[in-house]
Symmetry: C2
Subunit: 246 residues, 2 copies
DNA sequence: CAAATAGTGTCTGTTAGACACTATGGC
DNA sequence: GCCATAGTGTCTAACAGACACTATTTG
C-alpha cells in the first residue's frame, strides 16, 4: 500500500480550529489572555481565545489574525505572532474530531484590564496560575500554554522576541525586566546593559529621546533589524550545589 | 460575536494529512527520504512520505508513526521524532482543502539504498538538491524540508539531537562528523573532543568497548540522559570580513 | 619504521559575572 | 544636600580556539 488512495476508501474529515496564546507583561508579571466560554462544552470554563476556520478558503494563519482581532482587538500584523504547533489527539474535544493549530502572540503590556469585543469574559491571567493548575483550562489548553511559555523562554535567548513585549521604544531597564519576568531570574543590571548593546542588530538608539521616572532619565531604544541574536543571551543556570564534572 | 457558534453556521471540514521529513547521514552527506508519487496530483514527482489520517480515531502523532513504518519501514519509537508544524494554506493542495502536519524524524545512517515497502520509488536524496531546487518537490514540500533542516541545525546546538544520527554507540569522531555535515562547517577535532565530553549528560562511555578503523581505536559512547545541552555547542559564525560593532 | 587516527597539554585572547564607581535626574 | 535610577570602569576566573604534542593501532 504505497500510496494514499487505491481502494474506494475515504479519509476522515476533521474540524480545524485555531487557538491563540497571547502573552504579555502586566505590572512585572507574565500574563496570558483567557476567555470565559459561553457555550458547551466546558461552558463557564476558561479557555484560550480561538475558533474554527471561517470557510474553506481561509488559511490557518489568516484565521489566527482574524481571531486575534475579534477576540482581543489586536492587530496581528503589528505584533509578534508565530505558529506553535498542531494539537491533534483524537479525544481532545468532546464534540468530535477537532484539530487545533496553536499560535503564540506577544503583545506589549497594555494598561487596559481586558480585551476587545463584547466577549462574556476575557481576562489577563498570570501564567503561573495556569501552569500550576490553580486556574484550570478547557480542553488541552493548559498543555498548549505550557508549550507556549517554554517556547517564549527559549526564544528570548536567541531571538529579539523580548522587544515584542515592549512598546515601539523602550529603555534597557524595561527590556531587562522582560527577561527577568519571563525567565523568573534576576540579572545584573550593569552587565545586562552592555551585553544587550553588544549584540549586533538587537536594539538601536531611538534619537536623543529620553524618558522620566524617578532617577536619572534613560536612553531609549527601538528594535533593530536582527532576527537572531549573535551572541545569544544565555539564561542563568538555576544554581548548582555540588560539583560533578571532569 | 464572542463565541464560535451562534448562527446555524457550519465550519468547513478539512482533510488532514501527515508528512514526514526523515533525515539521515549517508556517506557524510545529509539526506532526506523522498517518495515518487504514483497518483495524481503531481504524479511522477518526488514528495515527502506521508498520507491522510486513517480514520477519525487516529491521532496525528500515531499517524506519523504508522506512515514511518509503512513508507520507510522504520520504528518511530526507536527514532527521534518531533512535530515540525502545521501547513495549512488553502491552496497548497489542488485536490482541495488539505491541512498537513509535518514531522521531523532523524534516523541513523542506514547502509541500504532505500526504504521499506513496495512503494513505486523511494530514494535518499541529498538535502542540498532539495534546498537549491534542483530536485523539485510536490506541493509545498520544499518549504517543509527547509524548515526541517533549519530546525535540525539549531537543535544540534541545544539538544542531544546529533546522537539520533548515530547508532546505539558511536565514537566522538562520528559525532563530530554529524555536526560538520549538518552545519556544513569544519570543527577542530581536539577541541570538539573535550567540549562534547564536558556537557553533563550528553554522552557517556559505553563500557570498555572499542572499535577499529585505520588508526588508533577510539572509545565508544552512547547518548546520555540530558535533554538539553548546558553549555550549548555553538555553531561557528560563517566568518566576518569587516568589523561593525560598538 | 611510516601513516593514520585518538587523545592530552598548554597558551592566548575574549568573555561573563561581580561589583566599585560616576552621572544625572527629582525632591 | 539625599535618594533613586542610569550608565562606566575594571578585576578575575572561566572559556573558546589554535595548535604542538603524545598514544595506539595497522601494514
Amino acid at each position: 500500500m504505497p500510496e494514499i488512495e487505491e481502494d474506494p476508501w475515504e479519509p476522515p474529515l476533521v474540524l480545524v480550529a485555531v487557538d491563540l496564546v497571547i502573552l504579555t507583561l502586566r505590572a512585572s508579571t507574565f500574563h496570558v489572555l483567557l476567555i470565559e466560554r459561553g457555550i458547551e462544552p466546558y461552558q463557564g470554563s476558561w479557555a484560550l481565545p480561538g475558533g474554527f476556520l471561517n470557510n474553506a478558503g481561509e488559511g490557518v494563519f489568516e484565521a489566527a489574525l482574524r481571531e486575534l482581532k475579534e477576540e482581543a482587538d489586536l492587530d496581528g500584523t503589528r505584533l509578534h505572532i508565530e505558529q506553535l504547533g498542531a494539537y491533534g489527539e483524537p479525544e481532545r474535544d468532546p464534540r468530535g474530531r477537532v484539530l487545533s493549530v496553536a499560535y503564540l502572540a506577544i503583545a506589549p503590556g497594555l494598561p487596559e484590564p481586558v480585551a476587545g469585543t463584547d466577549a462574556s469574559g476575557a481576562a489577563w491571567t498570570p501564567v503561573e496560575q495556569v501552569l500550576s493548575g490553580r486556574a484550570p483550562l478547557a480542553f488541552d489548553h493548559q498543555l498548549i500554554v505550557a508549550d507556549a511559555v517554554e517556547r517564549a523562554r527559549t526564544k528570548l535567548e536567541h531571538s529579539p522576541l523580548a522587544t515584542a513585549f515592549c512598546g515601539e521604544t523602550f529603555t534597557i531597564a524595561e527590556l531587562r525586566r522582560v527577561y527577568e519576568t519571563v525567565w523568573g531570574a534576576e540579572l545584573d543590571e550593569r552587565n545586562f546593559y552592555r551585553k544587550v548593546q553588544r549584540v549586533p542588530g538587537f536594539i538601536e538608539p531611538a534619537g536623543t529621546d529620553r524618558r522620566a521616572g524617578k532617577g536619572r532619565p534613560a536612553r531609549t531604544f527601538r528594535a533593530g533589524p536582527a532576527e537572531v541574536l549573535h551572541p545569544p543571551l544565555t539564561r542563568p543556570e538555576p544554581h548548582r550545589e555540588s560539583e560533578e564534572e571532569r
